[in-house]
């Protein structure tokens, strides 16, 4: 029986869809910064929601101390989980850079003009 390597899903999550990406600002660098900022904004919202959950659970079930948080050292399993979270976090924030690199490396057919493609495929 052949063993299948587990799928490394993280680079796949931010894969570039076919078709040329539209850029709306006069300078594409502005768009890049905006896309990165929105991903960070999303993750701040995620942290805020998670913290809110922690606060509510603490309120309901009783507590922990700041000293405990300060003294916390992750075990191997927790460290692995946290590292994986970080890897996904970076991939998310820098998605637009990944896609620009993919666009650079892609075959011309991957970067087709959507309107021209619709003309061509409209005849199929």
């Amino acid at each position: 029986m052949s063993v299948q390597a587990p799928l490394d899903y993280i680079p796949l999550t931010g894969a570039k869809p076919r078709g040329k990406r539209p850029y709306f600002f006069d300078d594409p660098a502005v768009e890049r910064v905006l896309a990165i900022t929105m991903a960070v904004a999303q993750e701040v919202a995620v942290l805020r929601e998670r913290l809110d959950t922690v606060e509510r659970l603490l309120e309901k079930h009783g507590g922990l101390t700041r000293a405990e948080i300060d003294a916390y050292e992750p075990d191997q399993a927790s460290a692995t989980e946290r590292a994986e979270w970080s890897r996904m976090y970076i991939a998310r924030v820098l998605r637009i850079v990944q896609q620009e690199i993919e666009a650079l490396n892609a075959s011309p057919d991957n970067n087709y003009d959507l309107d021209a493609k619709a003309d061509e495929l409209g005849r199929t």
Binding site: I10, F25, M38, L114
Partner: protein, 394 residues
């Protein structure tokens, strides 16, 4: 009386047998995007019309001595407007975040999801896939609404990930507007039939381009005695749709991998043929063949319905331009082409009679105690969970 916020939290989205497991952070990401999209639709979208009326149009008139003639002229002028640039960049970014979030949830558990689907699908006579099937190029070569790999990409054997990603993230795109099981359009269609065609007691029903079946199930449930045939070209969608339906105990549907341009069913064998948000993802050539098939497949007196956003004909250039956004910037290359076609002329050309055609409206039907009523005054140009019903009787 207390009520859920609008949009409601993702934790209220319904589960079925092939729902991916979501973590607290996954749900928080979809919550963020639902809020972001609601914010954009409510606060930013209307400002585009204002920018056009106050700034862009007067400047155009000053330069050309007339108003913009069509949506292309509106677009060329609006593309230089800073507010439109910002809204567009945010909307595109939101769509890309939604894809990445959905793919993260689904792909990290792809083996488990595919196994669950396979267990529900095993040896079922109601799932008919064709390993030799050739997907038409207008589906195979487009990554609709920025889904990397489109509807058909298979990253593993018996893959359902494309469909699972579609399902897990619609909440974000529609800000919960399609309801608990993303089936608000299906309930709208079932309700429309009950109200407008109560005499129709369909024995056989056909859904063309069923996708993952979210809009189909309420119709199948409304007519439990009927035999329902659902076709699609994408194997991942059909595997997922069948498993999803079975886990929700809807057992009167047979899912078949087939092309809507050439349906493997006899002439006059259906009482009801319908599509939901399907025609705009097919080519102009294909639409003509599909309309022809609806006529061939219906029995005399049978009913054909298509749920879509309104056609462009008669809309002001600015509204056409706004509705064109997804075509140009969200990988929906056929969207405008379909919305510019004269559907009535197409239907007439294949043998339907003009006096038996009609256009009606339908709005997503959701559990309003949780998902709230669609706000009538919020127009998100092509994203709103209400549709036109293009219908004809044979």
């Amino acid at each position: 009386m207390s009520s859920w916020p609008s949009p409601p939290p993702y934790s209220l989205v319904g589960k079925h047998g092939v729902s991916p497991v979501t973590s607290h952070d996954d749900r928080a990401r979809f919550n963020f995007l639902a809020q972001l999209n609601t914010h954009l639709a409510t606060n930013v979208v209307p400002a585009n019309a204002r920018a056009y009326e106050l700034k862009v149009k007067p400047e155009f008139e000053k330069e050309h001595g007339r108003a913009p003639r069509d949506r292309h002229e509106v677009r060329r002028a609006m593309l230089k407007n800073s507010l439109f640039q910002t809204w567009s960049a945010l909307r595109r970014s939101s769509m890309e975040l939604r894809q990445q979030n959905g793919r993260e949830v689904v792909l990290r558990q792809i083996a488990d999801l595919n196994q669950r689907a396979a267990a529900l699908n095993a040896d079922s006579p109601k799932l008919k896939l064709d390993p030799k099937f050739v997907v038409p190029p207008y589906i195979a070569k487009v990554d609709f609404h920025c889904m990397p790999g489109g509807y058909i990409d298979e990253l593993a054997a018996d893959d359902v990930s494309a469909a699972a990603n579609y399902d897990v993230g619609i909440f974000a795109t529609t800000a919960g507007g399609l309801g608990r099981l993303n089936d608000g359009a299906g309930h709208a269609l079932a309700g429309w039939l009950k109200k407008n065609a109560p005499e129709l007691k369909p024995k056989r029903i056909l859904d063309l381009g069923c996708g993952m079946g979210h809009s189909l199930l309420p119709v199948a449930q409304a007519f439990p005695e009927a035999e329902v045939i659902a076709i699609d070209v994408a194997a991942p969608l059909l595997r997922f749709a069948h498993a999803r339906a079975k886990s929700l105990d809807v057992n009167n549907i047979t899912f078949i991998q087939a092309n809507a341009e050439q349906v493997p069913e006899p002439d006059g064998s259906f009482d009801l043929v319908f599509t939901t948000m399907f025609l705009h993802e097919t080519s102009n050539t294909a639409i003509k063949r599909i309309i022809n098939e609806t006529h061939r497949l219906l029995r005399p007196g049978g009913l054909c319905l298509h749920l879509e956003q309104p056609q462009f004909e008669g809309l002001p250039p600015f509204e056409q331009f706004m509705r064109d956004w997804d075509a140009l910037y969200n990988n929906e290359p056929f969207w405008t082409r379909m919305h510019e076609m004269d559907l009535e002329a197409l239907m007439e050309a294949v043998g339907f009679q003009r006096e038996k055609m009609f256009v009606s409206g339908a709005q997503a039907v959701v559990d309003e105690t949780i998902f709230g009523k669609q706000k009538e005054d919020v127009e998100d140009y092509g994203r709103k969970a209400s549709w036109h019903v293009f219908g004809v009787r044979k």
